[in-house]
Amino acid sequence: MTLADLLPLMPLLIVSATAVLVMLQIGVRRSHTVTATIAVTGLLLATLAAALMMSATNQQVTPLLIIDQYSLFFTVVCCAAAMFIVILSYPYLARLDDDKDEYYLLLVIATVGAIVMVSSNHFVSTILGLETLSMSLYGMLAYPLHSKESAQHPLEAAVKYLVLSAVSSSFMLFGMALIYAQTGTLAFSSLIDLNSNAVSLSDSYAIVGLLLLISGMAFKLSLAPFHMWTPDVYEGAPLPATAYLATIGKTAMFVVLLRFVVMSEALRYDAVVIVFSLIAALSILAGNVLALLQNKLKRILAYSSIAHMGYLIIAVIASYFAASTISIEAVTFYLLAYMIMSLGAFGVVSVVSSSEKEFDLVSDYQGLFWRDPWLALIFTGMLLSLAGIPLTVGFIGKFYLFFAGVESALWPLLLVLVVGSGIGLFYYVRIVYHMLLPVPTSPQFPSATGERLGSYGVLTILFLLLLLLGVYPAPVMALIETVSAFI
């Protein structure tokens, strides 16, 4: 551990420092605004730092962390997203009749965990990051616990998530143990060409280990058949927390999954390929079908997230069979796209909601097009992007996935993808249709107030990103191409 090692850790350090700073500030004097500001600034700095370092850094810091362009890319994405979520949380928490500051503390610490995860190529760092993230998420999910008005069920959500994710963690750990028994190292490494002169263990141990690990990860990514917790937790948790869980939580985990699968060459085993295909197909179908007639937006987004993770798995499978690196890029781009669009979707809901009352029903948005065209336009954009319609980033993402699938000739999975997205169109467009209906006599929620300008700003930025990456993604494509070379 030298000074040279510290430099690449800059973003991580900045975020950790922010956490400490927030803690101290709370100790000195509570102030919602100040806390939020510190958090935003810290995360912004981290984002910038990571962005600046990205081009020049590729270094293994201690056995635990690999700081290369890929990890930095996602560090940028996660920090930026976290920053946006902070901005979205501010008005949401404004009227909470309880201390608001610790929420930001938890959020920042969770971000530390996320950063560790995206730059981890070692089981220990994976577990460290993951648990840091999860622990603080438990807190965030249950945050409005004391508030009397809170209509949602943060407690229920938190308990369910805690118990189940602890179970999944134990899956992962046991899996890791078995793999470790096979490879003899806790770093991600190939399971195939073992440098073992010791009496080797039968392959089935490794396979079982792999499958355990995959199952654990599948839970965190809410992939079928480990998806059941998702809608309940999403619905119960306060919106910004849900947004955090849905975007950063998923992304960080997925990066780990990708790194691990690629480095361990797990897909050499037919069993793993089949299990992955099964998981992908199940998730796509179950997710879309479950969302079909759902009336609560958060649950719809939960189910759709199941489906989207399923889409991504297709690209992961493809990454093994394809000659080019397109499939890695596909995963990367789609994660970025997914970050933008689901953050946007949650953002729209959270803009009109607050900790006392969340406007979660599809019918709440009836006639939004005529009451708040801009918000409605943004929401439409996000939904259509989730549905994969051109002019939006979602379409380019889908295009990447389809290409990856075609390149590796995964025809059955492509068919499932087509069917799934076909079903998906229905419920996304259904929401849009509700926004197009005439305005009901009694508007459901107050239109924007001054304190929500920040949120509107965030949403606008996301919307512009959505269009930009949907119409002229060439530069980002190029960036991702270079970045993905590091996996």
Binding site: V159, K160, V163, L164, V167, S168, F171, S204, I207, V208, L210, L211, L212, I214, S215, F219, A224, P225, F226, M228, W229, P231, D232, Y269, D270, A271, V272, I274, V275, L278, I279, A286, V289, L290, L292, L293, Q294, I423
Partner: protein, 616 residues
């Protein structure tokens, strides 16, 4: 002047445009002038052109106006082709057409939709002229469909009554069936011979196709399909009697004089093809024979004055087809001409009768009106005489030629001849049955008879009477056209044959005299006989063809339409939807909200996956 031949259809077309664009806002006088005048003009130019053409002594003359379309080797043009045949046709159309227009100005005088009527009439004349003057089959088809359209519009002219609408649609659709066959014929001809220009096509056919070659037979058959449709021959004759729903001048112009004879024109025009397909030509003859007999029988039983005339038309066209079948092309065209004269005469006269009897159609409600309607009476006498082909009337010469030609056919010639003679006998019966019942006998207590209308209606009748009488002396310049077909040397036939042919109509007249004039035989007593009455019913219904078609074609179609009103195929997609929906409901039930259950599902998933993995 010849180069101005394109003026012929242009005048009526302009008339049509004027009347349509002004939309009935013009005063009736002007409408009448435009309507009749335009046709008159084209008649004048027709006469001039005809004179010049005959003077020039050329066999034919082509005027190219513009290239319609040029796709690859398919280059039909808007070209006019004038030879003896089209000359005769254009004169008939414009001449008779003009007279009928003139008559209509009086007949329709108090119809609210005066200008719409003349618009359609003019359009019809224009289309009909395109039909006969076009130098390629596509242009002919243009006119062919055009006249069909006008016939539809005019049959349904009084649209308030749904029955008229039905008759009109029936007319259009039934003829459309024939037209479709004809269209396929055009495809075949073009695909095989590479052109639709009639003369080139015929030439090519003669070179490429041996006599009786299947292709020739197919082509001839398909064209024949078109012809029987338009000319109301078996088996597509059912539309014509209903077509009488239109105003009477229409029946005179379209459904007697011109359009219905288009089939005859088509066959005559493409006679080379039929000579290449002798079997089809024989078929033509027998179609004609069957039709003329069937129509003859039916005509005897009808009560509606116009339906009687309609069936007589069908049967007369049957004679023309007989002639065509017998290869007597010019005889067919000759009979076409004379028939145009006397049938137009009969219809117009019938029109005056109907008009002055306040739209009474049933002949048995008429009677003894010869005093009140002398012109109509004499028109009927002369018309019926010509129709029955009494000597020295125009009809006599044409029918005479036809029967002789029929006799001359080797093989079934005698059969054809006998059939024709029987037909002539029936013609005598029904034509004079009409005369006797309507004009003689005692008045059937119908309300007082209106005066015959003014000169506009009288003059055409007079002229047509003259033509019907003397039309037989006209020499039709067809030898050049049918040089190939004119090979029939009239074999010297015995006087007996002539005697029989002359006698047949007189016999018929005698019979109808005994029945309807002197009442020697009582019709009702005859009807009492079950056999006779059932036979009568059978004939009256036009040999039950309508009912048959209703059962075979119309009802099944309606049935299909009814049972599948909302698209069977759509229900498949509906099924997909409901499947997804049920899947959703079932899956949604798994989201119980119980932590234990979720954990269980995870465990189950894990077990599933691991067992899967270990097994593989």
């Amino acid at each position: 002047m010849q180069d101005l031949i394109w003026l012929l259809p242009t005048f009526p077309l302009l008339g049509f445009l004027c009347l349509v664009l002004t939309g009935g806002s013009l005063p009736r006088k002007i409408v009448a002038v435009i309507g009749a005048g335009s046709v008159g003009l084209s008649f004048l130019s027709a006469v001039l052109i005809a004179a010049q053409f005959l003077a020039s002594g050329e066999d034919y003359f082509v005027k190219e106006v513009w290239v319609w379309m040029a796709v690859g080797e398919f280059t039909p043009g808007f070209n006019f082709y004038l030879d003896g045949l089209s000359l005769v046709m254009m004169l008939i159309i414009t001449g008779v057409g003009f007279l009928i227009h003139l008559y209509s100005t009086g007949f329709m005088a108090d119809d609210p939709a005066y200008s719409r009527f003349f618009a359609y009439m003019n359009l019809f004349v224009a289309a009909m002229l395109m039909l006969v003057l076009g130098d390629n089959l596509l242009l002919l088809y243009l006119g062919w469909e055009g006249v069909g359209l006008c016939s539809y519009l005019l049959i349904g002219f009084w649209y308030e009554n749904p029955d008229n609408g039905y008759a009109a649609r029936k007319a259009f659709v039934v003829t459309r069936v024939g037209d479709t066959a004809m269209a396929i014929g055009l495809f075949l001809l073009f695909t095989q011979l590479g052109t639709l220009n009639i003369q080139d096509m015929l030439g090519a056919a003669q070179q490429q196709w041996a006599i009786g070659s299947p292709l020739a037979i197919a082509a001839a058959l398909l064209l024949l399909g078109g012809a029987v449709g338009k000319s109301a021959q078996l088996p597509l004759q059912t539309w014509l009697p209903d077509a009488m729903a239109g105003p009477t001048p229409i029946s005179a112009l379209i459904h007697a004089a011109t359009m219905v004879t288009a089939g005859v024109y088509l066959v005559a025009r493409t006679h080379v093809l039929f000579e290449l397909a002798p079997t089809v030509q024989m078929l033509v003859a027998f179609v004609g024979l069957a039709t003329l007999l069937m129509a003859g029988f039916t005509a005897m039983t009808q009560r509606d004055i116009k339906r009687i005339l309609a069936y007589s038309t069908i049967s007369q066209i049957g004679y023309m087809f007989l002639a065509l079948g017998a290869g007597a092309w010019s005889a067919a065209v000759f009979h076409l001409m004379t028939h145009a004269f006397f049938k137009a005469l009969l219809f117009l006269a019938a029109g005056t009768v109907i008009l002055s009897l306040h739209h009474e159609h049933d002949i048995f409600k008429m009677g003894g009106i010869r005093k009140q309607l002398p012109i109509a009476f004499w028109s009927f006498i002369i018309g019926s005489a010509a129709l029955a082909a009494l000597p020295f009337t125009s009809g006599f010469y044409s029918k005479d030629e036809i029967l002789l030609a029929a006799l001359a056919v080797e093989g079934p010639g005698l059969l054809l001849w006998i059939g024709g003679v029987i037909g002539a006998f029936f013609t005598g019966i029904y034509s004079f049955r009409l005369v006797f019942v309507v004009f003689f006998g005692d008045s059937q207590g119908h309300q007082e008879v209106k005066e015959e209308a003014g000169w506009t209606m009288a003059a055409p009748l007079m002229l047509l009477m003259v033509l019907a009488l003397l039309g037989g002396w006209i020499q039709v310049p067809l030898d050049a056209v049918f040089s190939s077909g004119a090979g029939h040397e009239e074999a010297p036939v015995s006087l007996l044959v002539h005697a029989v042919m002359i006698a047949a109509p007189f016999l018929g007249i005698g019979v109808s005299y005994l029945f309807f004039m002197s009442k020697v035989f009582d019709v009702d007593k005859l009807m009492a006989n079950p056999l006779a009455s059932s036979l009568h019913r059978f004939w009256f219904s036009g040999w039950g063809m309508d009912a048959l078609y209703q059962r075979i074609f119309v009802n099944p179609f309606l049935y299909l339409a009814r049972i599948n009103r909302n698209d069977l195929i759509d229900s498949f997609y509906a099924l997909l939807v409901s499947i997804t929906r049920t899947a959703h409901l079932m899956l949604a039930r798994t989201q119980t909200g119980y932590l234990g259950w979720y954990a269980l599902s995870m465990a189950a998933g894990l077990v599933l996956i691991i067992s899967l993995g270990v097994m593989l």
